[in-house]
Symmetry: C2
Subunit: 482 residues, 2 copies
Amino acid sequence: MAKRSERINKVRDELLTAQTQLVREKSFAVAIIVTGVPTAGRSEVVNKLLEWLDPKHVSVHALDRLPQTGDGKPIMQRYWLTLPARGEIAIYFTGWYEEVLWPAMHEAKKAARHEARAIERITQLEAMLVSDRVRVVKLDMRVDREVQKQRIDELLAEKATRWRVTDEDRWLAKHFDVVQEVSDRIIAATNSPDAPWHVVHGDDKNSRLEKAGGHLLKCLSAGFKHSAVPANSAPWQAETNASTVPFVTRPPEGLDDDAYDRELESLQGRLALLSRKRSFKKRSVVLAFEGMDAAGKGGTIRRLAAALDARQYTVVPISAPTPEELARPYLWRFWRRLPERGDFAIFDRSWYGRVLVERVRDLAAKPDWQRAYDEINEFELQLAEAGMIVHKFWLAVGKDEQLKRFKDREEDALKRYKVDREDWANRRHYDAYQAAASEMIERTSTPHAPWTIVEADDKKYARLKVLRTVCDSIETAIKKSS
Amino acid sequence: MAKRSERINKVRDELLTAQTQLVREKSFAVAIIVTGVPTAGRSEVVNKLLEWLDPKHVSVHALDRLPQTGDGKPIMQRYWLTLPARGEIAIYFTGWYEEVLWPAMHEAKKAARHEARAIERITQLEAMLVSDRVRVVKLDMRVDREVQKQRIDELLAEKATRWRVTDEDRWLAKHFDVVQEVSDRIIAATNSPDAPWHVVHGDDKNSRLEKAGGHLLKCLSAGFKHSAVPANSAPWQAETNASTVPFVTRPPEGLDDDAYDRELESLQGRLALLSRKRSFKKRSVVLAFEGMDAAGKGGTIRRLAAALDARQYTVVPISAPTPEELARPYLWRFWRRLPERGDFAIFDRSWYGRVLVERVRDLAAKPDWQRAYDEINEFELQLAEAGMIVHKFWLAVGKDEQLKRFKDREEDALKRYKVDREDWANRRHYDAYQAAASEMIERTSTPHAPWTIVEADDKKYARLKVLRTVCDSIETAIKKSS
């Protein structure tokens, strides 16, 4: 027994040392998932970890179950919002496994057809976390049926301890076999070398503590080893795909001012009425605007917003990430800005920055922006699954027209701030942007989140086309759901 | 006419210059409130400002009306969450005046008795914003009854523009007199030199634009002038009030281990059952723990948390503020961590840092920590008004006992990280802390948010006393509301 307590002290000591290093280096973050049956010691292990570690850099998350009916929010959003920054450790009671374990245990048949997709969401999330320097440790705390029964009986026998057994505990204990079966199945389906499961047997208090601590320690050591290996740092050369067909930037024909005013007013009216419809109140809209500098994103967004009630939309301008954002997986900052039901979130530049500016200007490593296509498709799929209407616009401005607009702006004292050195630098990469945009649109245009290319050399034409497309998109979505 | 457009261009130019300076210096933030009747040009003015300014540093907030029934959240929380950081400009459509204008217009009699308190909340908020370097500009956009009627009729006459008139607009136009009366009354009650109202007459498009821009410009100039004056920077000397009666730190009698275990278990059971009660689901609990280093806050909080479902509580450790937090009024970071209905938020150190460590260690200017007593009382009152159960604990540890614990910790390799140079430095100020804590408790113990002083030289006694007090507090609150 003395030996075990020495070993535990050693684990404890090493854990604190490792955490201190982690806090100092901020080289990665850690997400710990703890699942398990009643009396297997989940809370106890978590409490001990909190006692051992410096709690200022540890957060514990135990989220309520989502309402079965859905609330218009993507299922994984609440986990995204709680992701630890690098240097931090987050402990999740059940965490994202809540969405698959609980339904599987309770309504085996009904849940089965959702299970495959739920598991896909989880494996995709964990793969992304690992790529974005969040280490994932998963502990499943178990105990024998007999031991569990005995412990629960003991707790129930004493008035002073009876409160420890909740209704949920009783249910889980009663359905021991189902619970075990489901856990085994989910664990098998979500075990991966990068985010492995560890089954911890909780028959003995000290033994489970030693094991759980040991797994966390191994995860931390692996993290330090991994982050010490320099990332592939050979600067990537922007590949201008010579065979890329340039976008059409000039619309077929012009529009006189009167016709434009009339058409704008009428499209704004159409959008306004759509946005006030009762059937729209259950949906929400996510619009992403991309395009080179001076393509006219701002002006287009303003014409769109003018049709909406100010309480109903947010324009989210995206520029260089803050330190807080840089310390987390790159999609984090977009997850935080999703619309409420009945609302619009309009992104002026978006999550596509990763495969545009970050790719072209060499701000992201090649493997990072390459995996972003799949990550973005998954992200948008999850938004669509939650009932969001997602549409993306590429405002295609020609090289000559862009130059003209830059010069006009520089001459206009009031717009001068709109052109800076960065813009001129970006312009020198026009062809690389063009190639990156082509590949982006090819790889991320999906039925549930389509791209529309807008011929933006003519600002008025561009504004009308965007407005019309947004209206069509909402109309189709509402019709389908009613 | 040419003259006016020149003047507008000048305002526009100067605004952008001023904003650029603001973004660079980050010396203050700006909150703009825009209220007004339909067709007076609210949206148009806001859109123009957005066009003129660099939109990356401007946010627009138009929040939905709160549900009349209340949702367990303090009314002002949503405004707090959107406060601009220094260097940023936030524009609010109606903003916090929503809570007083709308009820006053719609249910004059019923609302009257709430109005005084609503206005108090607003003036208190604005005073705090101004003190914490958020400049407040308030614009009320108006138009004559006849002009309004004519404009609405024109809009309704054309199919293409009819959508611009909402049901709310019709209502407001129909009740022109009431709307005017209420606006006058609220404006008179909330006008102050630091957060003045400006009535902008919107009969003419350009004139209202020029005026609104001019008011914002004046606000910015005043901000720069004000921030250029060095704050009273004479370092404040910790005044040790010799007449302060020291807290009792040692409880009347000890407790043997068995009795402690039994009592702990039973109190945890009581708390667990209380927290699972149906009548508790509508309430929430905010607990603040303060006390000198090594007073036993962490251990006490763990004993408390052990009684709760992990999904039901969050422990919020408060240490030095982040840059993001430092850029905003100091209560901002606490507003962000309030509990949901049915939940506990347990603060390990709290908003009282301002009148404890910041006061004693000279981290806040004297006027700043002095006004904090009132600000904190108002903050806690607003939590209580939303149905939150607020209780605060001062864990009083004696000077000798603290020294003993420091030494014990230094000898224990595993707890060594818990004592750092800061702690020893704080200890040298023991008497000043003692005096600051006395004043704090005297000035902020209120019926709706009481302080309990806990004799913490005996850890076990302290844990039991806290648990018992929390149980009593919840029980009383639930009884009252049922």
